[in-house]
């Protein structure tokens, strides 16, 4: 397969790579530039764990042709912190125990960031809608929903511990 040059911005930094013509963005991120937060889950666009932001929009990197990202700005979880200080969403996921096996977590964070970047005060329904393309096998979703609402400053706990 012939190689083609591509330039894009990755978490605010300029990148230039030679990639396979048919490479997916996921394979370029994981295999070429050492970004491993997007996971290779279903690799057919149904599980959401490969989610990244492309020019601020939530996208599935496993079904995005890397060449289409020329000149684009790509965000992943690796770029969420500020000088080592966790993003409020990351902190809320920690505080709410919103991860178990962790395989969905980075995709969930991206979906949540895409929402909050545009809508800093979402309703519960808007949060549910925002993560509905991301599958989680462990948490039952409730801790994730609550973490995202917590990160906005709200709180909507619907379960309790005796």
């Amino acid at each position: 397969m012939s190689q083609v040059p591509i330039q894009f911005k990755l978490n605010g930094q300029d990148k230039a790579e030679f990639i396979d013509e048919a490479a997916t963005l996921l394979s370029v991120l994981r295999g070429k530039v050492g970004i491993t937060s997007p996971k290779a889950g279903c690799e057919q666009g149904t599980c959401g764990t490969c989610s990244v932001l492309i020019d601020g929009e939530l996208r599935l990197s496993c079904i995005t042709l890397a060449q289409t990202c020329a000149g684009a700005s790509i965000e992943t979880v690796e770029g969420m912190d500020t000088d080592g200080k966790l993003h409020p969403l990351q902190q809320a996921f920690l505080d709410r125990f919103a991860a178990q096996c962790g395989f969905c977590t980075t995709g969930m964070l991206m979906a949540a960031k895409a929402l909050l970047d545009k809508n800093p005060n979402p309703t519960r329904e808007e949060v549910v809608d925002a993560i509905s393309g991301n599958i989680c096998r462990c948490t039952g979703y409730e801790p994730i929903i609550e973490a995202i609402l917590d990160a906005t400053g709200g709180s909507a706990g619907s379960y309790r511990r005796a």
Binding site: Q100, G102, S132, G140
Partner: protein
């Protein structure tokens, strides 16, 4: 079309571990050159908290700060034997093995400290902050690091311990059939409310309320995490998941996540839970296993709630809208 509401209840006694070959797990504990402790296991943490719980148990038994304990696990090439992470056995079986190993390592540590302090080891205690001191005379003390250093560099001892836990295999009495397959059970009771659309057969979860008796909650936040996630899994087993929707006919078998259905974040209901702690006599610090038990009672509770709502008794999982609707139509034909 009517939306009908129903309530169902179910209880479970769930065995911890299994009655096969003794169901053993092993642990090794040793002090590193810097006086920290390494717990070596093969038990796998899939996100349930195996590493956190065994770290807590090891720190508690050794009498050292939890920050000074590392857990190295999930490699059967290098670790000691473990049957695996299943049967809700991890906390109970592996926790007990870690206690055994940590007790042996602690005894060597206290012997080394006793030699340095010129006292009897039985007169020593740990302060949980990294020091070993004479009971009643805390000014006579030595740090864990110095004691393990003395063992390694002056006394020629390894500060280490070996642990194994297993429950001897039990066979049924040939006369009565009575047996004791496991030594400890977790318990739960779940009450669910559902709404059933009698035109489409769609079941909507309204609420799930559960009480769990899981021994001591060694890590309460992770217990809650398991129980909330398990509630969702029970819901998923009851209403959504199958690889064989028309078994033995393989038609319509799902091939990906767009056809293998699970409840999404918009399909869940409020999960209300209460944890009751009744420490198990043979559990590590009383712990049992909350893992699988929490996913089981929602299933019969949901089936019962559907029966309560529309009078349809479905005994094959998952309880799909099609099965509910066929049940409703079957009733109207017979009446």
């Amino acid at each position: 079309m009517t939306i009908k509401r129903g309530r169902g209840i179910a209880s479970v006694n769930y065995p911890i571990g299994m009655n096969l070959g003794g169901d053993p797990s092993q642990a090794l504990v040793h002090a590193t050159p810097s006086g920290k402790f390494m717990v070596t296991l093969s038990s796998i943490d899939l996100g349930q908290g195996m590493k956190s719980v065994t770290r807590q148990v090891a720190a508690e038994t050794l009498g050292v700060p939890i920050e000074d304990v590392y857990v190295d696990t999930a490699d059967s090439d290098t670790g000691p034997h473990c049957m695996g992470s299943f049967a809700s056995r991890g906390t109970h079986r592996v926790g007990n093995a870690v206690i055994n190993a940590a007790e042996e390592a602690r005894a060597v540590l206290l012997d080394a400290a006793a030699e340095k302090l010129e006292v009897n080891a039985s007169d020593l205690e740990t302060d949980g902050k990294g020091n070993i001191q004479v009971k009643g005379a805390p000014s006579r003390s030595i740090s864990v690091m110095d004691a393990s250093g003395a063992a390694q560099f002056e006394q020629g001892k390894t500060v280490s311990g070996r642990g194994i836990f297993f429950v001897p295999r039990n066979y049924p009495d040939p006369e009565t059939g009575a047996m004791q397959p496991v030594t400890c059970y977790a318990h739960a009771c779940t009450v669910v409310e559902v709404e059933v659309d009698d035109e489409t057969g769609v079941v909507t979860m309204v609420s799930m309320k559960s009480a769990f008796e899981i021994g001591r909650a060694i890590n309460p936040a992770m217990v809650e995490q398991q129980l909330v996630g398990g509630g969702w899994m029970g819901m998923s087993h009851a209403l959504y998941e199958t690889t064989e929707p028309y078994y033995p006919n393989r038609d319509h078998a799902p091939v990906d996540f767009s056809s293998y259905l699970m409840p999404g974040p918009g399909d869940i209901c409020p999960i209300d839970l209460v944890v009751l702690e009744r420490p198990a006599p043979d559990g590590p610090y009383g712990g049992k296993g909350p893992g699988e038990m929490c996913a089981t009672p929602p299933i019969p509770a949901i089936a019962n709630a559907i029966y309560d709502a529309v009078g349809v008794r479905v005994d094959e999982l998952p309880i799909t809208p099609e099965k509910v609707l066929r049940g409703i139509k079957g009733m109207s034909q017979t009446h």
